[in-house]
């Protein structure tokens, strides 16, 4: 029975005829995927515990003014170079004569200098830690928002229109992708802060503004999210409901935002969560190297950087802000991972925990 090789070109599309897991029609109707995801997430105790940890950290940094005014009675930038405090009845220098700051005194001074002083300027490390966390979280969240908006808008455009627009966006992303992220961040961070900042038409952003790291971080991570979004849009564009909307004469914008976007939400939410984590880590690295936030602003990363000169004598000046970053980033990563598992419809039949298609980092090439 000879068979022409030519039929390789006309291989039929295959349909999962007896695939159980695709047998949605036999399941319960009218149950929204969000409800199912919520039910799965609710059972993931570890993910919820880490979400709680994240909220605790948020409450911790939001309470900064309260601690500063009611307990420590000082501000994050107030120096106490020559002052003495009473610790358990004994007078001690905040900064010793050779420039060494006082270590953690815990509640020895009624909450003042709880974590000691930050260096030769004698600022209250605990107060700085709480205020610095606000900056770290703010940069993380806002830059993740920028990444998400850029990736969704350009991913939708590239995936929906295809053709030249897609190629152009793809080429730009390829070029950004070619840079080691940290080097690109440093190049932009130094170039923008060494001069007088960034001037875009009427807007001038000064070199020491926190908007410079925010914009840089939001920008450099865009390709990592844009590619998977584009891929999903490409898949969705072929679906019947989009064709149906087109046939009904829906405009392009309407199709993009009311037909395609709702189908991307689960991907977007997972990415957004993981992006906050990733961006906070990146901010800390940039700030540690001096290419992120600039004085007088300080974040957990820049505090660690500053404390690093005292690593031998006062290691807590590095390890405590670093630990805060670790806990925040870990809480978001674990929660984001649980969120992804919950939103992945594949886990509907098989109960085992499994990773989905969404890999926020360089995974999807």
């Amino acid at each position: 029975m000879p068979e022409p090789y030519a039929d390789a070109a006309v291989e039929p599309k295959t349909l999962p005829v007896d695939d159980f897991s695709s047998d949605d029609s036999t399941g319960f109707e009218g149950r929204s995927p969000w409800y199912l995801a919520w039910r799965r997430l609710r059972r993931n105790r570890v993910a919820l515990a880490f979400l709680a940890l994240f909220f605790l950290i948020v409450i911790f940094v939001l309470a900064a003014p309260l601690w500063a005014t009611q307990v420590a009675h000082t501000g994050p930038d107030t120096t106490h170079t020559t002052e003495k405090i009473t610790v358990d009845g004994k007078k001690k220098d905040v900064v010793s004569l050779d420039g060494q700051p006082i270590g953690p005194v815990w509640f020895g001074a009624a909450g003042k200098f709880f974590l000691g002083a930050d260096g030769s300027l004698g600022r209250d490390e605990m107060v700085r830690l709480m205020y610095g966390g606000r900056i770290s979280l703010f940069i993380g969240i806002v830059s993740a928002l920028i990444t998400t908006i850029l990736a969704v808008v350009f991913g939708l455009l590239a995936g929906f229109y295809g053709g030249k627009l897609d190629s152009a966006i793809g080429a730009i992303m390829d070029v950004i992708w070619a840079f080691p992220v940290l080097l690109l961040g440093i190049a932009l961070g130094t170039a923008l802060s060494v001069g007088n900042g960034l001037q875009l038409g009427p807007i001038t952003i000064p070199g020491n503004s926190i908007w410079i790291p925010i914009l840089i971080i939001g920008f450099v991570y865009t390709p990592y999210m844009l590619r998977p979004i584009r891929g999903e849009v490409l898949g969705l564009r072929e679906k019947e409901f989009v064709e149906a909307a087109t046939a009904q004469g829906a405009g392009t914008l309407r199709i993009m935002f009311s037909e395609l976007l709702p189908n991307l939400w689960s991907t977007i939410i997972v990415f957004f969560t993981l992006n906050i984590a990733n961006n906070m880590l990146f901010e800390s690295a940039l700030s540690f190297l001096g290419a992120g936030v600039r004085p007088p602003t300080s974040s957990w990363g820049s505090m660690s950087s500053q404390g690093f000169t005292l690593l031998t004598s006062q290691p807590q000046l590095v390890t405590i802000p670093g630990l805060m970053i670790l806990l925040t980033v870990l809480s978001l990563n674990v929660f984001g991972d649980g969120l992804r598992d919950a939103l992945d419809p594949k886990s509907k039949i098989t109960l085992r925990a499994r990773g989905g298609q969404i890999e926020p980092e360089k995974a999807s090439t």
Partner: protein
């Protein structure tokens, strides 16, 4: 899908099983899901005799593929619960560990899957994958195994097997890949082939070639076959006996002639009625069975076909047992409460067998 059962005697002789090769008894497969226990296979029993072709027929989700996979120990989800007995040559297969099943898989029972496009590993040459199968069961030198692979490719009708053996799967067409899968399955000369919708994913002409290949292997090598399909046309061509499944249960089983000429279950009527017949005037519209298969999580009480059956009556709320209801055919069993005489009346739709849309 054009199926063409000839109106005369079907191909393949109707032999009664001696039940000595494979013996499945009261097999149940359930999956624990978040929505509850999903009964994919619910108390299915059947035998396969040596060199017999048994067809398992049913819609998507009727449990026929799960049944087949479970025989091979391939139902592996941790949430699956398997009960009942699967005996192959008097060896119990349920409860065996992977290592113990290895001697059966490939060597005694081979399996061919629905989609040949994805059933070969894309990164290895076709020949290597056949050699791998051979050498996993016996200490054969690589060169000898390769010869055997070429021989098998030739046996399943692949042209120029000496050069084709070194091709990658993507260089094969769909039909050739399915042939290669069959060659791989048969390389160790198993006595039973489980073919899970082997032709569904292929072009119509290629489908016929694959089915004829299976038939030839059955006749020439005495290979027993379990053919899983939803295509009654294919069944009519080659099967000896037929098992009809619906919602995880066997609803009717018997010889090919019994099922095609004296079907007892309304679901079988529906399947037969929806065949296109070349020997009849073309109907305006192909008849179909109304409604959807029931949820396997919460199947209806009583007869599971009741919600879709136009002939349902009071007693159908009681689950019907699978039993022989015809005194003249003790092997022909079904799950329907109606009396055989009523059935003969009800299944007649415009002079042929079918399921009426209205009772």
């Amino acid at each position: 899908m054009s199926a063409r059962p000839e109106s005369g005697a079907p191909a393949g002789s109707a032999t009664i099983s001696d039940g000595n090769l494979l013996n499945v008894a009261d097999l149940s497969v359930r999956f624990a899901t978040e929505d509850g226990l999903l009964k994919a296979v619910d108390g299915v029993s059947f035998d396969v005799g040596s060199s017999e072709i048994l067809a398992i027929v049913g819609e998507s989700g009727s449990g026929k593929s799960v049944t087949a996979q479970t025989i091979m120990g391939l139902t592996r989800s941790p949430n699956a619960q398997i009960e009942g007995s699967i005996r192959f040559r008097d060896k119990e297969l349920t409860g065996l560990r992977d290592a113990e099943l290895q001697d059966v898989r490939g060597k005694e029972i081979a399996m061919v899957f629905q989609d040949p496009m994805t059933s070969l590993n894309p990164v290895y040459r076709v020949g290597r994958q056949i050699v791998e199968a051979i050498r996993s069961h016996s200490e054969v030198p690589a060169e000898e195994a390769r010869e055997k692979a070429i021989e098998m490719l030739a046996a399943v009708g692949i042209p120029a097997p000496e050069s084709r053996v070194d091709n990658f799967p993507h260089e094969f067409s769909g039909g050739m890949r399915q042939r290669a899968m069959i060659a791989m399955g048969l390389a160790l000369e198993p006595s039973l082939l489980i073919a899970d919708e082997p032709s569904t994913a292929l072009d119509v002409t290629i489908q016929a070639q694959i089915i004829r290949l299976i038939q030839r292997l059955n006749q020439e090598r005495g290979l027993a076959v379990i053919l899983i399909t939803h295509d009654l046309g294919v069944v009519a061509e080659i099967a000896d006996r037929v098992l009809v499944m619906y919602a995880g249960k066997a609803v009717e089983q018997g010889t090919l002639d019994e099922i095609f000429y004296d079907p007892q279950h309304p679901y079988t009527w529906g399947l037969l009625g929806s065949l296109t017949r070349l020997d009849r005037p073309r109907p305006r519209r192909l008849p179909q069975i109304k409604g959807l298969p029931p949820s396997l999580l919460a199947p209806p009480t009583g007869c599971s076909f009741r919600p879709r059956c136009p002939h349902a009556f009071g007693r159908c709320t009681e689950p019907p047992s699978l039993e022989a209801r015809l005194s003249e055919a003790p092997q022909h069993m079904d799950r329907c409460w109606k009396s055989p005489d009523e059935k003969r009346e009800l299944r007649n739709v415009e002079g042929r067998i079918g399921l009426r849309s209205e009772a």
